[in-house]
């Protein structure tokens, strides 16, 4: 027996009410702290608004330097991980398909090793690194490349799967292109969506990283935000809010793999 149409549309309406109630509640929970940050960072004398905290960003000792350091680190880490990972992944895809699973497991390994654990093992190694490269915070690039490995791998892998790069590279090689030219001229343009999202996620991760920088005593943006916050919380809240908004804009500009089809494609593996 089919239920009457009336109960079915009632069910639909109930579902819609539930849906919006959940969205509203979770939305408020997630956005309330953001509103509070705006309020907190624009407080002046009682009852007044002031941009003092925001202006203090420029004059807080070390803050601008630390932001520049973090931006440089983000750029270097992205560049490093792409130069390391893209040729390796393409190479394995084409020449050593039996190693694909191994490569994936290694790339996902950093997800299962907490940063606080990694830092215990990497501290002795960094004693050597600083001897070779000097004590610049930019040496963090190496360990940050490890941190972003899982996310970069996943994004590039999704792109590689959606293109038939075996045929593409055979065609390119048959026409006389060298292997580097095939990689840069043929394959990279075809997986640029994956490369773009790998880059964006990596930038966001590096800009937000605190654990390793702080315990290896490097002054990155997060470390200085935390330090300043002990004395002048307003400035820290202002920088945090600006950084959160910046990361949000980065992520929303990403061409997302949307829709049902790609959702099942990018299923956790």
């Amino acid at each position: 027996m089919t239920p009457p149409a009336r109960t079915r549309s009632l069910g639909l309406r109930a579902r819609s009410v539930w849906r919006w109630a959940i969205l509203l509640l979770v939305g408020i929970y997630l956005l309330l702290p953001m509103v509070a940050m705006l309020d907190f960072s624009t407080r002046g004398a009682p009852g007044e608004r002031s941009l003092e905290s925001w202006q203090a960003i420029a004059t807080s000792p070390g803050l601008i330097e630390a932001i520049v350091t973090s931006l440089q680190l983000a750029a270097l880490s992205v560049l490093g991980v792409l130069v390391l990972l893209v040729p390796t992944m393409v190479w394995v895809h084409l020449q050593l398909p039996s190693l694909r699973r191994t490569l994936e497991v290694i790339c996902l390994l950093p997800l299962t090793i907490p940063a606080i654990v990694l830092v215990v093992g990497i501290a002795p190694i960094y004693a050597q690194v600083t001897r070779f490269f000097g004590g610049s915070p930019l040496t963090l690039t190496f360990v940050y490349m490890v941190l972003v490995l899982p996310f970069a791998h996943r994004a590039i892998d999704a792109s590689l799967r959606s293109v038939d790069i075996v045929t593409l590279s055979e065609a390119s090689r048959t026409l006389g292109a060298s292997w580097p030219r095939t990689l840069v001229g043929v394959i990279v343009p075809n997986i640029r969506v994956g490369i773009m999202s790998a880059a964006v996620i990596s930038i966001a991760l590096v800009l937000g990283e605190f654990t390793i920088a702080s315990l290896l005593n490097f002054d990155t943006m997060q470390v200085v935000i935390n330090l300043i916050g002990k004395r002048n919380a307003g400035v820290s809240v202002a920088v945090s809010l600006a950084a959160l908004i910046f990361a949000f804009l980065l992520l929303i500009a990403l061409p997302t793999s949307s829709g049902r089809r790609s959702a099942s494609e990018s299923e956790d593996s």
Partner: protein, 280 residues
């Protein structure tokens, strides 16, 4: 042989900066200060009430926030996943969740200080309206209670990211089939959607547990006194220069964390195999 040359740079890099540090942690846990084999450091962790209760608190806060995060996050994922698959709401929710879930514990700690701290927006609003009371005592934020609230704040978005693919795999046709066969909403969830989503849900909850268990930044920025959880005790072991054998104590604590995460991630991997069945 030649094809293997192509993976040499990657192998060297990963060995230096991922495998070697992992090796240092694992072997360091079994060494004394002179580098000799010893189970002393591990033994001292296992017999110290201070360290054991840190593990207990770490596991507790991870379970609580993984539960809260996975339940509310799953509801959130359902609400987003049943909407337009290309709509702006989904886009904004995913980008925002990416920021909250993965961007930075320090900034989220400051977000909550601005909300519920002594001079936070909500605290001040409450004290203006209702005067001083237990509601305006913000000290809870700087301890385990605050940790649980901020962790939950980033667990819910992480759940959305991890769980949304599973929700979007549910075909609307299944609901229609259940409806037209006379199934009630309860029966649909009990016999169709529930059993399909359950392994993904448990898997995601395990991931959330590991996420909270590994978190350090929020606690470092928020907690002002003592080292109630394991990551903060590792910091103590690494940064203190007074007691000997800190590197091995740090390694022993880190090794303990690795064991807990390994157990959880193994369970996750096993579940993931079952999930794969449904995601074809």
């Amino acid at each position: 042989m030649a094809p293997y040359l192509g993976v040499v740079p990657f192998t060297v890099f990963v060995t230096l900066f991922l495998l070697w540090p992992t090796y240092i942690v694992v072997t360091g846990a079994f060494k004394d200060t002179n580098g000799e084999f010893s189970t002393e450091a591990l033994g001292s962790v296992l017999t110290s009430a201070n360290h054991l209760s840190a593990f207990q608190r770490s596991i507790q806060v991870s379970i609580i926030t993984a539960l809260a995060g996975s339940i509310f996050g799953a509801l959130f994922a359902w609400a987003i996943g049943t909407g337009r698959s290309n709509g702006p709401l989904r886009r904004v929710a995913l980008a925002g969740s990416g920021v909250f879930a993965q961007f930075g514990g320090v900034m989220l700690a400051f977000a909550f200080l601005a909300t519920f701290g002594f001079n936070g927006m909500v605290t001040m609003f409450l004290s203006e309206r209702f005067g001083e009371s237990f509601l305006t005592d913000a000290s809870w934020l700087y301890g385990m209670g605050g940790l649980a609230v901020v962790y939950t704040f980033f667990q819910i978005p992480l759940m959305l990211i991890v769980f949304l693919p599973a929700v979007e795999n549910i075909r609307p046709q299944w609901r229609e089939a259940s409806d037209s066969l006379g199934g009630s909403t309860w029966e649909y969830w009990r016999h169709v959607a529930g059993p399909i989503l359950f392994p993904s849900f448990i898997g995601a909850a395990l991931l959330l547990f590991a996420n909270a268990f590994s978190a350090y930044a929020t606690a470092a920025a928020l907690i002002s006194q003592g080292s109630p959880i394991v990551p903060l005790q590792i910091r103590g072991a690494l940064s203190s220069e007074t007691t000997l054998g800190n590197q091995s104590l740090g390694s022993a604590l880190a090794f303990g964390m690795v064991v807990v995460v390994a157990v959880v991630m193994t369970a996750y991997a096993l579940l993931q195999r079952r999930v794969a069945k449904w995601s074809q």
